[in-house]
Symmetry: none
Subunit: 200 residues, 4 copies
């Protein structure tokens, strides 16, 4: 029952099916058949469109990265100060859209995949470098380059760590909200920029 002009929609269904499968079965138990079933298409279609299982995963990661960038860009448009822009980046990472179990599962799987798949590694590195660089730019408006870079790296590390922990604490509601934890850190950084450094 073929329909023309459905290609993009089908591809998106397959990507969604992949995210769902990674979440429910785990990355290494995710089969092309599961992906197809989740997407409501035939077994052969993911292959037909993407060529291989690896390509399906790559497309899925690209999709998530694009999604994240899109949301980030949207939020940054409304931000007026360095502080607000950093806040926008933080909120993007913890928005309901991004900080949900299935998306986290997929991201984590891709970090693991990055260890052995150069293509995945490359994409994630680009993303990570851009995140740190965006944060550095904002911090640099109120301090020197080195302090800004350190703050940016700390912020990005904390964001990533909270994502990682979410795997274990998805159902544990008595933890400090992730956003607030990172915002506190950022505030501390801003405070320290103003203060003559004594420590260290």
């Amino acid at each position: 029952m073929p329909k023309v002009g459905m290609e993009e929609e089908r591809k998106t269904s397959i990507i969604m099916g992949t995210i769902k499968a990674i979440h429910e079965k785990g990355y290494s138990a995710t089969t092309m058949a599961t992906i197809a079933r989740n997407a409501g298409v035939s077994t052969g279609l993911p292959h037909h469109y993407f060529g291989s299982k690896a390509a399906v995963f790559n497309a899925t990661m690209s999709f998530l990265l694009k999604d994240l960038s899109k949301e980030s860009r949207k939020r940054l448009l409304k931000a007026r100060s360095p502080k607000e822009r950093i806040d926008a980046i933080i909120h993007t990472n913890f928005s309901d859209e991004q900080f949900q179990p299935s998306v986290i599962s997929a991201w984590l799987a891709f970090y693991v995949l990055a260890r052995t798949e150069p293509a995945t590694r490359r994409l994630l590195r680009i993303y990570h470098r851009r995140l740190v660089s965006n944060l550095t730019v904002e911090f640099q408006r109120v301090t020197d380059h080195d302090s800004a870079k350190a703050a940016a790296e700390g912020t990005s590390a904390m964001i990533d760590g909270l994502w990682l922990q979410r795997v274990l604490t998805a159902d544990n509601p008595d933890g400090m909200p992730a956003t607030q934890l990172v915002q506190d850190y950022v505030q501390k950084c801003f405070d320290s920029f103003d203060t003559p450094e004594i420590s260290k």
Copy 2:
């Protein structure tokens, strides 16, 4: 505490073979045959000793957790103040022993596995809770419970995030040293405990 004997030595070889395999091939490409080859034993032996592939992975994770605990305990013995004890915990996580590519690969793989394997999830949660709780105890000596808890969660998140990023930046030596980044954060927390809070 291992019984001395051939059996324990063999089991340890198999665990080491598993870590090596996860690092080199990636978790989902790790086969029993690869593990056995890495360990220098016959194909059937991992199964013979552990009963199943899942059990081999569980044993490997337990091994890594025990290793980390052992090192942590050793370092804590020499620490004399809260600050020193927190430092000991941080240094344990970034010691040459722990913060090496193959160990990181394995840990990360287990985080992914935790999403779908209750046994893995349980072990990692226990470890994570103990880490946060240990940190909280130390922070609490100089501030109230809530601030201590937040600082502990932030510290643990930053440690985890730096581990995660290491997957992408193993060969990127111009980043801020992980230890210093976390120590800076801890210092900022200590500073903020002394200061009447104005921000936020």
Copy 3:
């Protein structure tokens, strides 16, 4: 005798596409999609016209057989003696038209197919019997039936053998020209008809 029209042209394209595909990919790697691509038509068309993959191959073989017959008939028209007629048959089989790599690949594939496909087998047998019978008729003009039959079978075997070897020696130009080898054999047969048989 083709009806003129779009349909016949398309069918011929598909047959040409099949020959090309067999030559380039090998018989068992020839897919309907490759055939269609070679023919410059849509994936569904070969099926639409011929009904099945097997039917495409059958049509291709019929085409090659007809082509060979047509060329043979044309050359025989100009031949005036038994010797010339045998020569005409030989030259047909080694003409540039027939003795080219892609045609040889296809013929060979059909011989293999003949082992298991009764329809292919039947067609090839008819062709082979007619070749031997045509040769026998000519030889019989100068000798008895048995000697003629033997000479005809020898000639046809040598032609087939040279075709088969061409698969291995397409790029090996220092071999004896195929035509001459067969003509020598035919000459030897003619010579032996004249001589009182002593040998054997």
Copy 4:
């Protein structure tokens, strides 16, 4: 139910299973499962031993080539004159062992495969060159090099052609025996060496 030291026997079973499968189903309908079933082993074993389907076919062809060489060498030992040695070669090719349907099917399949598989092509070329060279050596004892080479090429072509035709005529007993046809040709060649050449 593993048994040690069975490797060679198992490999031979698999090769026999391959020959049987090619004969019964045809080359392109030969599946690893059919081969395994024919050999009386599990589906996975052909892979376990040979690594891929292509490797199974290569091993099968090597086996057939070795078999032919072995028989040829055995027969050549007993031959005392050039004529006898040529006869030995001819009889090897048409012995009951070699000239049987399943072996012919396999050989033919390999000629087809040779068009696209360089490894197969190389093996067949070596075999073919050796055959021609062996025949040339014998003919050269009674004539000049060029005539000897032509006779050798003619002989080998006729042998190959009779093999090819056998595909169509396996059940057709009223044809001239293959051996006699080739022997006649060889005799004619010998005769022509003695006679001052007039023809051509």
